[in-house]
Symmetry: C2
Subunit: 415 residues, 2 copies
């Protein structure tokens, strides 16, 4: 059976990690910086070495194409991103791109030609660390945002994404989104603890959980902590003391896949001896099932409404973002599953907790993802780590799944 070259893949991973390397062993290769340009240059050099045809679109997305037998047919695509968080790790994104490269390299060495062409894609600005929102370029590709919207994103010092793109010489000519795919795959570290805890080398990603983001404002009356008896106060912390247990209780009510995160509780004025005038609280709720996530939304609203019945002016719950759950393509999921079975790799089905370029791409092409464990679930961190055995297993599964979708039969996959 055909296998990828794990040493070659890891060498390339570490070679790429030198670009923007941090002292703590991580990577700072933020989108559209000089480091990003160097990473792109290296990636393209490697693609050209295995005879890929490289194209760059108007958003700097890089497409490296390996021709097949029928080049008019939609390609099978492997995509992820080369940009990193400011204090990111060596695997997030770049693994998916270089695993794609290794898959094509393996086919190149074995002189295997697929029925349909293959493409590796590196998407611009997946992290959103410099230009918000995240995944903006795959979003434009999928028709979620306009090209103008993306071009006008600004970083902290007011530089527009378009200008940064031109600056590093990566504004290409191809129209964004003018490519059709038969299937697309993204290999990524899990960025969570599930696979590691379950001792599975590969996660067959069936979808991405839905997300609801809320701003919860709780009103109070700013009062000196000394003179006012409790009965005279309007204290939003007291309201919070009733709400917080009920909000977390939602994770018990709605089962083990329900997640609730309160990231901050900002008190104003936020001084020790003053009852806050108001609290600004974030609530992040997630669930893989749209109906259950909606029920959680109803319950959260009801919890706040109970307080409103006591005090009309208690505050306000506002839904600020909703990303519905994504179910990946059953054909692509099946191809991944079949690959793990063929290769006898310990695997399990898993739902992605985080967003990925694959979420947007899944709107315009059959898509699924492959996860591998990362140590302690650590990601967006310079200490991010993935084991070589899992990198190899995940990339072999990617190879097999790609071949499954790129050929009418899987004859070439046999040794």
């Amino acid at each position: 059976m055909l296998r990828i070259n794990g040493n070659r893949l890891c060498e390339k991973l570490f070679e790429m990690a030198k670009i923007g390397a941090t002292t703590k062993g991580g990577v700072c290769r933020v989108a559209l910086t000089e480091q990003d340009k160097l990473g792109r240059d290296l990636f393209i050099k490697w693609c050209l070495e295995i005879d890929c045809v490289v194209d760059i679109d108007q958003l700097g997305n890089i497409f490296a194409r390996r021709l097949g037998r029928n080049n008019a047919a939609p390609a099978v695509m492997i995509g992820s991103h080369l940009d990193s968080q400011p204090t990111g790790g060596k695997y997030d994104g770049v693994l998916g791109v270089l695993a794609g490269l290794e898959v094509l390299h393996t086919l190149h060495d074995a002189n295997i030609v697929t029925d349909v062409p293959l493409e590796i894609v590196s998407w611009t600005n997946e992290e959103g660390a410099r230009f918000s929102p995240a995944m903006v370029a795959s979003g434009v590709f999928a028709g979620e945002f306009s090209l103008d919207f993306a071009y006008n994103r600004e970083d902290k010092v007011g530089t527009k994404l378009l200008d940064a793109l031109v600056e590093i010489g990566y504004k290409g000519k191809s129209e964004v989104g003018n490519r059709k795919y038969k299937a697309t795959f993204e290999l990524h570290i899990e960025q969570g603890p599930i696979l590691e805890a379950a001792k599975k080398s590969v996660g067959i990603v069936t979808g991405v959980q839905g997300i609801r983001w809320y701003n919860l404002l709780l009103n109070g009356k700013e009062t000196h902590a000394g003179p006012s008896p409790m009965s005279f106060r309007k204290d939003p912390m007291l309201t919070l003391s009733r709400l917080l247990p009920r909000i977390f209780e939602l994770t018990k009510i709605h089962g083990p896949d329900a997640k609730v995160t309160v990231g901050y509780i900002n008190a104003f004025p936020g001084v020790r001896n003053t009852v806050p005038g108001y609290l600004d609280i974030s609530v992040d709720m997630r669930h893989p099932c749209e109906e259950i996530l909606f029920k959680m939304h109803q319950d959260l609203t009801a919890i706040v409404n109970v307080e409103k019945h006591i005090d009309q002016d208690v505050g306000h719950l506002e839904l600020v973002w909703y990303s519905p759950p994504v179910m990946f393509d059953t054909g692509c999921i099946e191809a991944v599953k079949k690959a793990t079975e063929k290769l006898a790799i310990p695997s399990m089905e898993i739902v992605s907790g985080a967003g990925h370029d694959a979420v947007y791409i899944s709107k315009v092409a059959p898509t699924s993802m492959i996860f591998i464990p990362c140590t302690d679930g650590l990601s967006h961190n310079e200490l991010e780590h993935a084991e070589k055995v899992d990198i190899i297993n995940g990339t072999n599964v990617l190879l097999a799944a790609v071949l499954e979708m790129a050929n009418d039969c899987d004859l070439e996959f046999r040794n």
Copy 2:
């Protein structure tokens, strides 16, 4: 019966409020600024007009002395402060100083000489808005801090208190704390809602509640809000959801005089889609009774310890400041009470929720305070307001109480 001149007092209050007047009707006369100097100059001018002898000590505390029959005897003192918060009101502090002036003015006009001398004191930097801690000068006077400690307090731009004092020309020669008092009184706005709600014109202040300040640190593990199931998380917000109701419950357990304030809950990193790595929480507990406040302390410790039994690394409760309850002098309290009765002014006993110069002075001299209501309990605010009728009532009570303590009998007080 002898009465103060309310119009004259209010004219002086408004004249003083012109120095550092803000557009919203408040005052910005921060300690040891040019505005503070102008306020001090005006106050001294007024004291000299009624033949007081003015002395300034090494911390800029101003002592205006009206001679009595026995000038070797300890004086009766009326003290407060002329400095304000950056966005302060027209009454906080200055009322106590100018009410003292009005009391002496009234005696001056009536040619009344008391057995012991009288003094008005304006204490330097009561607010602590520029130089922390608050009440530092009365603190040095009472032996709570050293003179060097006070001199070396720095403002935000690194200016030392000593240099600011010299700069405005108010570093006097008298040793700080070398004066003895028979009795001292401080008239102040309540800075709380109790008198207004009870429709009382004067509060007979029996003491100052004790204060315990805590830092509560709750540990978590920084985790992406997406991938980690709830059962994998170490979420300090979840710990908080158990602790917060129990902390506020202490006010129910320990009765209507118990106060608990949580001024801030700072989450780190404090972003929407990350389980916080830790929370930094302030807890302010107050009670007029030392034993009950200690019981509250024990209960709070026990509440945190319950969590420690579940997780040794749950966090840490640290007492960062303790100010024991103060019981004012029964003789001084009695003098105030007798005055309200003689004058038939609606009054009630009250415990001060905030700190005042009188707290430190009470350590070295028989002391009590007189409160008057302020609208909506509002203070440290440009909209701070006190009604003229209450100002007059409070100052008449001050006059009567001072005379009660300054004479062997109260013959002169009769009309």
